[in-house]
């Protein structure tokens, strides 16, 4: 029982599994080959076993008479054991390979989907999906698929062989075999209808214990903890009764399956016995048919027994597919146009708007332009979309309305057409809460520029006001920063991120000032760093405090993006302010 509502009958092989995992395609071929070989061996074994009974029965007990069938049976047994090993190994390896393919495909897709999509996921859940979420595929590959392949081959082969030996028995088997899936489907449908009716009851009752245990601290606060054990017994009992009423029906499916199988064997045995009695058949034929008949039903029973592996395996795969099927961009294809040189490009935002859902706009609409070399301040109340605007500039988010036009010397280009990696190669970004890898300070800095020398790292740290930090660290640049950069204060983390921005030497710097408390020291360091960058780069700074706004060439004011604003269609314009510290070459070109 999964968390999801019960759905319609799923195909036993999800076509997406074959599409996303080449290993699954290969394995289907291997499994089919092993299935064919197994089928042949099953048939040969039946004849060999029959000879071993019939010859002594006829008085041929000498070793000469038995040597042939004994040798044949020994070879068959050895081959079947060998095939069992090969089948199991192939299945487990296929499962491992497919899981690896899915995991790597999943991660590559997740990265391609970008931070704005990732921001809405839980890191832990995604990690669980990647590491263990696909484990249910083990049972699918190791047990269900082989059973399915065998079920497709063995019954047909058995019917064919039995028919050549004794047409009546062949008819009995051929007539009863289809009853198995027919009854399975009928009972399955009835069970599903019933489960669907009871779904909410079953889910509520089944989840009760977890709910109570998770709420235990709350129960303690309200002094209700001790009273719950009786309720747990009561609810578990209701759950048992509801479950059993479903199971009584569900188990009928396999009961019918077995009844068809055993009754058919009985029917075949009795009819052969009577024919033998009448002399219309010899013992050899009778025994071959008797040995082979159960083999026709056995694979179908195996499929039924491993049905759960299929359901769980495909459910696990579907969780992965749900992510893999998330389209990368509305257009589908990845834009490939090379990015224009940002040192000679003005970025113009034309009615840019972002909304995650219909009710509320996360940003805009915004009209603004950012000319090369400008220092642009971005202000607005919490929730007005300042960080969202930076995400749009980074290409993490596509505007839901409006566009970002790059005015190059060769004419305008829409940002949506530009290769995002090429575009971001010209941007340095200092987010509100910079991420630091659990690695050395040097490794963290070199994420910004892999080939930077140690001297350059130290210089960047100094420029970012992190000189004292470097001096304090026990192993200098080699100091390993803890998980999530613990051990550094928020201000220090911001300085490391600033150093990265300096190292990156990118034409456009996007700086998202932390709204959390930065100590006074960091605040002035950041302000100084921004002024240091501003001379040589285009800088867009999200500022919460006035210190950072001194000397801006241009101020973009965002107001709260609320439905009312969107309705009136008010243009959230930019307000060019006199640039007190701006040189004559950095005029406000509004």
């Amino acid at each position: 029982m999964s968390r999801a509502e019960p759905r319609g009958r799923a195909s036993p092989v999800d076509p997406r599994l074959l599409r996303y995992a080449a290993g699954a395609r290969r394995h289907l071929l291997v499994a089919a080959g092993i299935g064919v070989a197994t089928t042949l061996l099953v048939l040969v074994q039946a004849f060999a076993v029959t000879e071993l009974v019939v010859r002594p029965f006829a008085g041929q007990t000498g070793s000469a008479a038995l040597r042939g069938p004994l040798l044949l049976l020994a070879v068959v047994v050895a081959c079947r054991a060998g095939l069992a090993v090969a089948g199991e190994v192939a299945a487990h390896r296929a499962a491992a390979t497919v899981k690896s393919e899915l995991r790597r495909g999943l991660l590559a897709h997740v990265v391609a989907l970008g931070p704005s999509w990732l921001g809405r996921q839980r890191a832990g859940e995604l990690a669980t999906l990647v590491t263990r979420g696909t484990d249910a595929l083990d049972g699918y590959f190791a047990r269900y698929l082989p059973a399915l392949v065998t079920a497709a081959l063995v019954p047909a082969a058995v019917v064919a062989v039995v028919s050549t030996q004794n047409p009546l028995s062949g008819l009995i088997v051929a007539a009863t075999l289809p009853l198995v899936p027919v009854f399975a489907v009928l009972v399955g449908m009835a069970t599903r209808a019933r489960t669907a009716r009871q779904w909410h009851t079953l889910a509520a009752l089944g989840g009760h214990f977890l709910d109570v245990v998770e709420g235990l601290p709350t129960l303690v606060v309200f002094r209700r903890a001790k009273a719950q054990a009786a309720t747990i017994r009561e609810v578990s009992d209701s759950h048992r009764r509801a479950t059993m009423s479903t199971l009584r029906l569900a188990f009928l499916s396999s009961a019918v399956l077995e009844l068809v199988a055993t009754l058919s064997v009985a029917l075949v045995a009795v009819s052969i016995g009577l024919r033998l009695l009448g002399g219309g058949l010899d013992l050899r034929t009778g025994l071959v048919v008797l040995v082979l008949t159960p083999e026709a039903y056995w694979p179908l029973r195996q499929v039924g027994a491993h049905f759960h592996d299929s359901v769980e395996g495909l459910a696990a795969a579907r969780e992965v597919f749900a992510v893999l099927d998330t389209p990368l961009s509305p257009g589908g294809a990845r834009p490939a146009r090379p990015a224009p040189d940002l040192r000679r490009t003005t970025i113009r935002l034309q009615g840019v708007q972002v909304r995650y859902d219909r009710a509320k706009a996360a940003l805009g609409p915004v009209e603004a332009s950012i000319a090369p070399g400008e220092l642009v301040g971005l202000v607005g109340p919490s929730g007005s979309g300042k960080s969202t605007l930076l995400a749009v500039l980074l290409g993490f988010l596509a505007p839901t309305a409006g566009r970002v036009v790059l005015e190059t010397p060769d004419g305008p280009v829409d940002l949506a057409e530009v290769d995002p990696d090429d575009w971001r190669a010209q941007i340095a970004w200092v987010p509100q809460q910079p991420w630091l890898a659990p690695a050395s300070l040097a490794e963290n800095l070199r994420l910004a520029r892999a080939q930077a020398s140690d001297d350059e790292l130290v210089e960047a740290l100094t420029q970012a006001g992190a000189g004292p930090l470097l001096a304090r660290l026990p192993d200098g640049l080699g100091t390993v920063l803890g998980e999530r950069g613990a051990g550094l204060s928020a201000g220090e983390r911001q300085r490391v991120a600033l150093a990265r921005a300096f190292l990156r030497r990118a034409p456009l710097v996007l700086l998202d000032e932390a709204s959390a408390h930065l100590d006074e020291g960091t605040e002035s360091v950041v302000a100084a760093a921004v002024r240091g960058l501003a001379g040589r780069h285009t800088v867009v700074v999200v500022a919460h405090r006035p210190a950072l706004l001194q000397g801006v060439d241009r101020l973009v004011v965002l107001s709260a993006a609320d439905p009312a604003a969107a309705r009136t269609g008010a243009v959230r314009g930019e307000r060019a302010e006199p640039a007190p510290g701006g040189g004559p070459d950095r005029g406000a070109a509004a």
Binding site: F57, L126, D135, L210, L259, S382, R545
Partner: protein, 592 residues
């Protein structure tokens, strides 16, 4: 098992990579079994299962006899009994099997109900201090899954083993009666397939699980890093290099799985070989017996064909062996948690609750979570006269949650004193203290139940009018008006989803209903944006007017609304002037 609903509750996800697996000890599995208290039904179920499989063996044996005997062309009357027996076994097998599954599932669900109730009783004294800190949600979900493993133990381990033993004994008895030397062959084959193969499967699973655990943890860490740092990594163009590194970790995992595949294959081959070799050996021994006249050719057919049916009872055993390693770990994890010493010791003869008013005084309070752990509170003094509003701030890890735990008596103090109206709270029944001190926790649980039940938890006797009043005071009047089913609206799991702010407000309404003179607000603004956060704190304080309020937070919002602020640092409280806390609000984010 086509479409049989698995009686595991939804939400109990089997995969949690973060908690290191506890070391399995065999004793724990026995204790798990004892907790479950198996019922007689389970035995009846196993008997039915064995009878079903023996009916299958009977079907093969009688059919073989029938055909071989018929070849000798005796009279029809000679065969009548065999014909009836063949038909009887053909019907008995599926019927018995159906009964077995119903009986054993019913028994397993009964056992589970009992196990859950007993585990719950043992959890109560441990809550909440011993039930994990940050990762409490994971821990408890894991715990529920671990308790559920008692079902696997019954249904997929104990019962198949019992059935296998009974059926093997039955088959051996039958063959021994016909031809003792063939019984020896069958016995060896059964031991090989029923003991050696499952043991090998179990050992392989244990070994590869242990190796996989490490590789998985390393991969998981990398993935979490990638997800958390995706923005920075992509912006710096460093994501492809990261993906390549994760690909290497992934290959490590795949290599381990490939090695384990060979071992699994050998186990399967061993089982297949055992069946084939037994048939081969039976035919050899049987032919010799026919030659020496010990058995007839008719019985030879039975001796050779019975092994084919007998081995069916061993099929679930390798799976059972693999499952056993998992159940052992579940049991070990469960008892590791349940065996923890409670963090609070209720006095044997508690002092009755004093009369109102309730000034609360902390003097030199020292506290730590477990023995040997570092002191988190080291000399905390705090005066809470009735009606006072106090803010407690501090960096994460400074001990704010510990202080809350001490105030609510989730944790006993190691030294110092907490006194309520002059009485040492250590002398009170903890539940009595919680009549006076209430809590709105950041992770207050909304139960999968109706809004009415969620609220009445705090005050079972409250009428609807009271509930509505509490909702209005928690500023949920507008929200309530939009609810389709009013107080009968289903909340929590499977119900309507509440936003973070609505959750806190429902929790507040609940706390207001409990009507405690002292109210602790623990991180009420966690996860809310600045404006929402401040509005919430303002509403919380407004609704709690007249009570003593302790606002514990690491965020600035709402601190301008309390009368005094203390900072928790180095295990002590330090007074903070409002000026130090000022500033830093987002531009335009202040509405006064």
């Amino acid at each position: 098992m086509s479409s049989a609903p698995n009686p595991r509750p939804p939400g109990a996800r089997p995969g949690d990579t973060r908690r290191p697996p506890a070391t399995a000890r065999p004793g724990d599995t026995r204790r798990l079994l004892a907790t479950a208290r198996p019922t007689a039904r389970l035995g009846v179920g196993a008997l039915a299962g064995a009878a079903a499989l023996l009916a299958g063996v009977g079907l093969t044996a009688t059919a073989a006899w029938l055909i071989a005997r018929a070849a000798q062309a005796p009279g029809v009357l000679t065969l009548t009994v065999a014909i009836v027996a063949v038909r009887f076994f053909g019907i008995a097998r599926p019927v018995l099997r159906y009964l077995e599954r119903l009986l054993s599932h019913d028994a397993a669900l009964r056992v589970l109900a009992e196990a859950r109730a007993r585990v719950y009783d043992r959890l109560v004294p441990l809550a909440p201090a011993r039930l994990g800190g940050q990762r409490r949600g994971d821990l408890l979900a894991r715990l529920v899954a671990d308790v559920d493993s008692v079902q696997d133990l019954q249904l997929r381990i104990l019962e198949p083993v019992a059935v296998a033993v009974l059926v093997s004994a039955g088959c051996l008895g039958l063959v021994a009666w016909l031809l003792p030397s063939a019984a020896v062959v069958l016995g060896v084959g059964l031991l090989l397939a029923g003991v050696a193969a499952p043991l090998a499967a179990g050992a392989t699973a244990r070994a590869s699980e242990a190796r996989l655990a490490g590789a998985r943890a390393r991969l998981s860490t990398e993935v979490v890093d990638l997800v958390r740092g995706a923005g920075d990594l992509i912006a710096m163009g460093a994501a492809p290099a990261r993906l390549a590194r994760i690909g290497e970790r992934d290959l490590e995992l795949t290599r381990i799985a490939h090695r384990a595949a060979l071992a699994a294959g050998l186990g399967a081959g061993l089982a297949s070989l055992a069946v084939g070799a037994t048939v081969w050996g039976s035919a050899l021994v049987g032919a010799g017996a026919v030659r020496s006249g010990r058995i007839s050719g008719v019985l030879l057919a039975v001796v050779v064909l019975v092994p084919l049916a007998a081995f069916e009872c061993l099929a679930p055993l390798p799976q059972a062996a693999v499952l056993l390693t998992r159940v052992r770990r579940s049991a070990a994890r469960l008892f590791e948690l349940l065996d923890a010493t409670p963090a609070v010791h209720a006095p044997a003869a508690p002092v009755p609750l004093p009369e109102a008013p309730y000034p609360l005084l902390l003097r030199g309070v020292r506290a730590r979570w477990t023995e040997g752990a570092p002191l988190v509170l080291d000399g905390v003094d705090l005066d809470l006269p009735p009606g006072r509003r106090v803010g407690i701030v501090g960096a994460s890890g400074a001990g704010k949650s510990t202080l809350v735990a001490v105030l609510l008596r989730f944790l006993d103090v190691e030294a110092g004193q907490v006194s309520l109206a002059g009485v040492d709270t250590a002398e009170l029944d903890p539940d009595e203290l919680r009549r006076v001190v209430g809590l709105v926790a950041d992770d207050a649980h909304i139960f999968g139940s109706t809004l009415r039940e969620n609220l009445r938890l705090a005050r079972p006797v409250a009428g609807d009018a009271e509930l509505l009043a509490a909702l209005r005071r928690a500023h949920l009047g507008g929200w309530y008006a939009g609810l389709p089913a009013g107080l009968d609206t289903w909340l929590g799991e499977g119900g309507s989803q509440l936003s973070g702010g609505e959750c806190r407000r429902v929790a507040l309404a609940r706390a207001l209903l409990a009507n405690t003179p002292v109210l602790v607000l623990d991180e009420p603004t966690e996860g809310l944006d600045g404006q929402t956060a401040r509005a919430l704190v303002a509403d919380l304080l407004d609704a709690a007017s007249g009570r003593t309020v302790v606002l514990v937070t690491h965020r600035p919002e709402g601190l301008d609304l309390v009368e005094e602020i203390h900072q928790l640092r180095a295990g002590r409280l330090w007074p903070v002037s409002r000026r130090e806390m000022g500033g830093g609000f987002p531009v335009g984010g202040r509405d006064r």
